[in-house]
Symmetry: C2
Subunit: 243 residues, 2 copies
């Protein structure tokens, strides 16, 4: 169920891959030392549940590697993804004990965890961290609002094109054609987009047949012309809304 990732545990914060983007980004010297003593790593395998809706969540954490999803559900079982955590994203909320949504590892995941009440103390004493957390929360709020526009008004094709463009943009290697490995199953994509698996599959097929993207192996996608994909996405503004 749980395993310690030794390669990370043995290194200090200064070698951390999310050192300069996570909630700890603005910490230096003493503050960083303090964080160092508070943190612990924990990993989950793809598909494992990190927390259930309503669970007690005694920690907060930064996602170090992998990808995790936040999902809310209705009583009859319909579900909607409401958050997608990527490396450096923050999980948990100071001042709240229970998780308001299910948290699931979409790929293998490693988190850098802090005891919640310890972290709350830290927040009160180091404005740096509080400031950075506010900034990250506001970014997430912006992302959520962009996502609302997608859910409320975009067509299935636009939704799929938008998601693919986000993933490609994240992968952001400067190679052409743009290439990325999908961190999400069709199921997770459908949950993200407020669609069914079948519709996602059909739209991906359609985009492929129209030459906007191509599939490489089981999980890879390529896009020869990002501008074309962005046009399909309905808004050709920057649309960087995964925070």
């Amino acid at each position: 169920m749980t395993r310690i990732d030794l390669s990370l545990a043995s290194e200090g914060c200064s070698a951390c891959p999310i050192r300069h983007r996570a909630v700890c980004a603005s910490c230096e010297g003493e503050e960083l030392d303090r964080l160092e003593t508070m943190k612990s790593y924990r990993s989950w395998k793809a598909g494992q549940t990190i927390a259930m809706e309503g669970d007690d969540l005694p920690f907060v954490a930064s996602l170090v590697t992998g990808c995790a999803t936040l999902t809310r559900s209705l009583e009859d079982g319909r579900t909607q993804m409401v958050g997608l955590l990527m490396p450096s994203d923050f999980l948990g909320r100071p001042g709240r004990r229970t998780a308001p949504y299910e948290v699931v590892a979409a790929t293998d995941v490693t988190m850098c965890m802090f005891n919640r009440s310890d972290f709350e103390h830290l927040l009160r004493e180091t404005p740096h961290v509080a400031e950075r957390l506010l900034e990250m929360s506001l970014d997430e709020l912006d992302a959520a609002r962009e996502w609302m526009l997608l859910l409320g008004r975009k067509t299935a094709r636009e939704k799929v094109a938008t998601l693919l463009s986000i993933i490609l943009r994240r992968a952001a290697n400067d190679a052409y054609p743009l290439h990325a490995e999908l961190p999400l199953t069709r199921d997770a994509m459908a949950s993200y987009l407020g669609l069914t698996i079948e519709t996602v599959s059909r739209q991906i097929t359609a985009l492929r047949k129209d030459g906007v993207i191509s599939l490489v192996g089981a999980r890879g996608i390529e896009c020869p012309d990002l501008a074309a994909l962005l046009t399909e996405a309905g808004d050709d503004d920057d649309g960087t809304f995964l925070s």
Copy 2:
């Protein structure tokens, strides 16, 4: 276009109706005095635009009275409401100059405004305020996520029932049957819910015919049985997601 609300301008913060819920909630004494010197009031009539998408927004503000909407749009004109500001809610983001969405007064509106860079200074110097702003932002994020569940997965009837229940709950006078005046036009409701005007109208009619609600005059609704309405809304948890 702009007018000063004298009844508010003449009073100090201590008489402010949102004194204990807004971003200033935790301020006392000197901090409050400082806010007092920084603030100014401004009002808009229902329907007026407070800021356009992309506009420079040189202030941040607390909504004192009335109701305002935040709306994002696609290039071809489709729009989605992404925020609904009620009294005590905060508008603007420290560290950003331009509004990422259109802000419109849904009813007559009065705001308590601060110059943005002055407010940013204040934030850095008074952790109280920063803390409160973080708390409010996280509440808004929760609200946005609940809203995403609605947009992605609820049926038209559930959407309308959810919105009505939120409005009734906000109005929260203990009288029965529960009563409220709708602060939103059908248009605004449709924008909120990711539906068309026609569908909203039909669903309201349907709920009325089914005895779940009744209409009183042009803008009033009554609900004899909130539990029944919440059942129609699809989730009978508390669903308080207007922050």
